[in-house]
């Protein structure tokens, strides 16, 4: 229920948990048997389809580097002999052929399918690491805030408000030059792809954790009052143990749902950042930078124009539907 989508303009970064006011409504119902949830999920055809597509993407993503290694995918070789005198692909539909199922790139003759495929791997990886990082920060701070309450809770609450006030896309754009320099010069991250990837991952997470923290805090507040926590306190469990051993396992359901909704938002965010030129740069392909180039050929090479955009849209939609499906399955009270 509520909004699972986010916007990339300015305030940009996603709020995968929905509107904060709605938080309490998303309560997970204690230890709802996992099997029941799975059964419910399997009955939901749309979610199953999404799940399969997402799985295929992930599988393809893992395979891509190996395919490149064995020469089955080749995102970098130039085939300028496949271009006409105006350096557009020879032949209809952007030069589609058996060797190049999505045609070749204008100007270079690089294989479009290889670039989109490997680009998917990199974009997924960046989104995955960024969302894991955001979830980690959000979860730790959320548990601490929820469990300790009082001053700590207040400080974390203000920190959340403060972070949310930053125009995140703008910050990611504006900070790119100084922070790239910081990463490469002071932290000795090798220049180029790795430094850009690090920049994007770290700063997506820095501006992306607050909604997770809010969600987890809410969950902890309700769990805190339950018997097993009281019991653990009685048995003299240490605070640290309590946070992570007793409470964390009870949060997996909302975390899983948040994760499946945060990840696609980060795929979109990475694409937007590539468009603005502050992510991994060509010739290394990401979905975003392939799309950025293909925009130039919107009118002349529709296959090229459409391929990377569709690859992004499909995975983003499927992850979102998967997230919805999971939430419905895990929380049967929701309205779907």
């Amino acid at each position: 229920m509520t909004t699972t989508v986010s916007n990339l303009e300015s305030e940009g970064l996603p709020d995968p948990t929905g509107h904060p006011d709605e938080m309490d409504r998303g309560k997970v119902e204690g230890k709802s048997p996992t099997r029941l949830a799975i059964e419910r999920f399997r009955k939901d055809r749309l979610s199953m389809v999404s799940f399969i597509i997402v799985a295929l993407y992930i599988l393809g993503g893992i395979l891509a580097p190996f395919l490149v290694k064995f020469g089955l995918l080749d995102p970098t070789s130039y085939h300028q002999d496949l271009l006409n005198e105006f350096t557009l692909p020879e032949g209809p539909l952007g030069g589609i052929s058996w060797k190049h199922p999505l045609g070749v790139e204008p100007g270079t003759g690089r294989d479009v399918m290889s670039r989109v495929w490997l680009g998917t791997t990199l974009s997924l990886t960046i989104a995955l690491i960024a969302s894991l990082l955001a979830m980690a920060i959000g979860t730790v701070l959320g548990i601490i805030a929820g469990f300790t309450g009082g001053l700590t809770d207040g400080v974390i609450g203000r920190l959340i408000d403060l972070t949310l006030s930053f125009p995140s896309t703008l910050m990611l754009l504006a900070l790119s030059a100084p922070m790239y320099a910081l990463l490469t010069k002071n932290f000795h991250v090798p220049e180029g792809d790795l430094a850009w990837a690090t920049y994007v991952v770290v700063f997506l997470a820095i501006f992306g954790w607050p909604p997770i923290a809010r969600l987890i805090r809410g969950q902890v507040l309700s769990i805190r009052e339950r018997e097993f926590v009281h019991a653990a306190t009685l048995f003299g469990a240490s605070r640290f143990r309590m946070y992570f051993k007793e409470i964390l396992p009870n949060l997996w359901a909302p975390l899983l749902v948040s994760f499946t909704l945060l990840l696609p938002a980060y795929i979109s965010a990475e694409a937007a950042l590539s468009y603005l030129g502050v992510s991994i740069k060509p010739p290394t392909p990401t979905l975003g930078n392939v799309l950025r180039d293909s925009l130039n050929y919107a009118e002349f090479d529709f296959v090229y124009f459409f391929s990377p955009a569709f690859a992004i849209a499909l995975i983003v939609v499927c992850f979102n539907l998967l997230g919805d499906g999971l939430r419905d399955a895990l929380d049967p009270k929701s309205n779907r």
Partner: protein, 349 residues
């Protein structure tokens, strides 16, 4: 109530202060000398020193304390003073004396001076803001109108093929990157098929309301696509939920027509959170619709930020970041206060 309002505003101001501090730290805790960063793309050492003097940046010291803490703090102090009291540029007194005809007065709240563009940040932002405001306004109208309409439609056909189709389509439109949608609209709708004239921003003063609005349509559609899906789903959820509420059921039981129940009761309950949400989103777009403005070449805050970023124009970037932040914080304060009026319980919490 007044106490609550004051407290809320106080927190907001504190938040802005904290935000500006964080921004300065982030920008200056890097090995890039801020004077270099502020002096434009092709900056020789001589020009860099001139920029440093013109902007009143401290010279870059050695060591962590000098360069990463003292420097930013000093610059933040000057900046804050400028906000409260206004400033003069060049900041260096000798430079001002040497060429009094080139002194620029920047009245409070002064957000800084761009040596690259030879203008105050206030002036540049002042020019860009109406553009961004116009796009944001047009977009918010579009996305609320269509978001709610489609959301209600989906809710009343709940579970049907139409419902799924609507939600799916809006999700798909959201999932396509906005720069793809924008480019598509521009290249195909506007230019190739000539279905809609090429948009270029025209202010109301220059072209009247009609021209102003018609030029905004395509950018607004691009921007609205991003938000609409969220509103469709939110509206749908609210309507479905409120239909289950007692008072709606009562109304139904009393024999009121479905449509009447829907609009009079269910939708009304959903409207408050929707409008709140839209207000907050609107405020965030005011900070600059970066991608939309870039695609359509509208000189709003977002495009200003992009060019400031390519030109290494630090004062402008900082100005825009803080102004955008101020919008968000202000919108939050307004929402909170309005809520406090509506629901007195809030004040206690």
């Amino acid at each position: 109530m007044l106490a609550y309002v004051i407290r809320r505003i106080f927190v907001g101001v504190a938040m802005l202060l904290a935000m500006s501090l964080v921004t300065f730290t982030l920008f200056f805790a890097s090995p890039v000398d801020p004077a270099q960063y502020a002096c434009g793309k092709n900056c020789s050492p001589v020009q860099r020193e001139q920029a440093r003097k013109a902007l009143g940046y401290p010279s870059r010291g050695e060591g962590v304390w000098e360069s990463n803490i003292k420097g930013p703090a000093e610059m933040w102090g000057t900046f804050a003073k400028g906000i409260v009291k206004g400033r003069q540029f060049p900041a260096d007194e000798e430079l001002r004396k040497a060429a009094p005809e080139n002194v620029v007065d920047c009245a409070a709240p002064c957000f800084g001076y761009s040596t690259y563009s030879i203008r105050t940040v206030n002036e540049m932002v002042g020019e860009a803001l109406p553009v961004t405001f116009s796009i944001a306004l047009a977009a918010v109208i579009l996305w609320i109108f269509f978001g709610v309409l489609i959301g209600v439609l989906a809710a009343v056909t709940k579970g049907s093929f139409l419902d799924r189709g609507i939600v799916g389509t809006s999700l798909f439109l959201y999932a396509f990157p906005s720069f793809f949608i924008g480019t598509f609209l521009l290249t195909y709708i506007s230019i190739k098929w000539s279905l809609y004239p090429l948009p270029s921003y025209t202010s109301i003063a220059d072209g009247g309301v009609g021209t102003w609005a018609s030029n905004l349509l395509l950018p607004a559609v691009t921007l609205a696509m991003l938000y609409m899906a969220g509103y469709v789903r939110m509206t749908r959820a609210f309507v479905l939920e409120s239909q289950a509420e007692d008072y709606v059921r009562t109304a139904r039981a009393k024999g009121l027509a479905t449509r009447k129940v829907l609009f009079k009761h269910a939708l009304r309950a959903a409207l408050t959170p929707l409008v709140t949400m839209a207000g907050l989103d609107f405020a965030s777009v005011l900070g600059g619709a970066i991608i939309t403005e870039s695609i359509f070449n509208f000189n709003g805050l977002g495009k200003l930020a992009v060019s400031a970023n390519t030109n290494y124009d630090l004062p402008v970037l900082i100005g825009i970041v803080l102004i955008a932040g101020a919008f968000v914080i202000t919108a939050n304060i307004i929402v909170d206060i309005l809520y406090a009026f509506i629901d007195p319980r809030v004040r206690v919490g």
